[in-house]
Symmetry: D3
Subunit: 121 residues, 6 copies
């Protein structure tokens, strides 16, 4: 039987894709939000990788699993190393305590998931 | 394989039913809470539909999946249209940003689920 | 001595004005956010008043005092009655319990503040 | 000049009293909430002191200052010792990290405030 | 088909074990966190059982499912009775309202799960 | 009359100092927490400045004013530029929406406060 945490990761990816069209056609805030998102994460005085790790740290402390899935993947695709991700977890635990530690497990498992997926490409 | 998000929706419905008796017999706050709930959602100067949409908006921003499942279903049963639900998502995204956007996917999928269930009745 | 809660309300209004220029000139997300905000709150199938009350309910449950100050004022300026605001507090308490009840005091005091300000205009 | 944290404590006490009548007369959920509150905190298999400390720990982690003020005072009036309050802070920091540590300062100052007030009675 | 809530409970237990080594070897905050955790939960003026119930109440209000799983199990292993757990749910609902009520279902189901597991030992 | 937001900043600084001894002598988690904090923020593959900005972004989204005060000051003392702080606000608004925008005003005012204090040294 497949691991439930892996299923959650894959479902998060699938839901994002499957609901995209509905959001785009019906949710009025979606277009300005996409613009806001783009302006946020493009390289500035902080590069995109740093910003994605920052977003990942927020996602851990606020217990947002689909956010962790997305920003971890984006961080990796923009060159984040395992060490950088572990230090992001450090900041999250310092700020959010045991709750952040519990949600950081999701990140550790998602990290394995994305590293494996990239290797098998 | 069944969609995990759909399973979560169905599990939320089932858990509410399956734990009801335990709450009723053991949790002292449950009876006054049911009264509080009833007073909250009955038609007043705001009608029930509006109040359920309000509760839905809170549920999205606070990332409460079983709450989203319940208040969406109640909103629909009290006549909420798709357009009203999408505008509720707008308010949630304005207040809660990308995190709210990520949890609104659950609402979009639950909306499909409840609309389909009602059609097949 | 002036009431601290009233001072917080006035400081919230003042800080919004005093930081506006800094946000506008320096924070890249600010312009798309203003567009997102405008799209959110303009009359749709839900009118602006309803949406402002919805935002107020979210603000109470998430304990956001400057948000309460702003969305209460906007709700009042768009015709919200005291009864509608009290029913918004009902939904907030149902969803958020005693914590929401504690923050709803801020709303009750801000309601007095804004009603008095409008009378003396 | 008076300490701002002390002013917040006193304002929290005053706002609770000053808004009570408004809640009682206008907020429909208020009466069932008072019943719910009473059922929650009366001595059971857990005594009231333990329950108030539990509520205090929740208040610290959720950053609810008026809740901290109230449940600390109630805990003290029900016999809580300084040592018990410090161990409540321990649990809060374990669960909520540095954020809980920062809000626990409010508890430490409120503890001084209430101990002094009781001595001078 | 297995109950999804039970699967979540088992996955939470498994993820804790499976990620332990990764945390221990890579996350710098992990060792001081383990020390902090140990100091928090050992018997003091409050005994461990009380502290675990306190942590459980925080977990319900903050909607932390892996935290609920862990602290419920620890509370039970330290002698917590069903009545004590139900009164912990009371405090959580008083503080956190309907959202806490919805997450308390997870606790009720996990309670069944752990009681059954212990019986069959 | 002094600005209330400035008073909050100064009170946050003062409360940290004034409660330090009480925490150190009475709160068992405090020493391992200080060690955890030190391990978190020392230069690693991410430098301290980046980690402080990360902690600042978390503080904005979780509405933790004393955390914002501290991590902003630490970021500045470790060389953070205004541009970096504004991009940190961007990430916070993307993740946390209008609520983050409202709390970012505190950061903007605290930025002025700390820059002025440093100039007058």
């Amino acid at each position: 039987m497949k691991d439930l945490t892996e299923k959650k990761i894959e479902q998060s990816i699938e839901d994002r894709k499957r609901t995209y069209r509905t959001f785009f056609d019906n949710v009025k805030t979606y277009k300005p939000f996409l613009e806001l998102e783009e302006k946020t994460f493009k390289d500035g005085v902080l590069n995109r990788r740093t910003k994605e790790l920052m977003a990942l740290s927020i996602s851990i402390v606020t217990k947002c699993e689909p956010c962790m899935e997305w920003h971890l993947d984006q961080a990796i695709q923009n060159g984040a190393t395992d060490e950088e991700i572990f230090e992001t977890i450090d900041v999250s635990i310092e700020m959010g305590g045991g709750q952040a530690g519990a949600y950081a497990r999701f990140v550790v498992k998602a990290l394995d998931y994305f590293r494996n997926k990239n290797e098998s490409r």
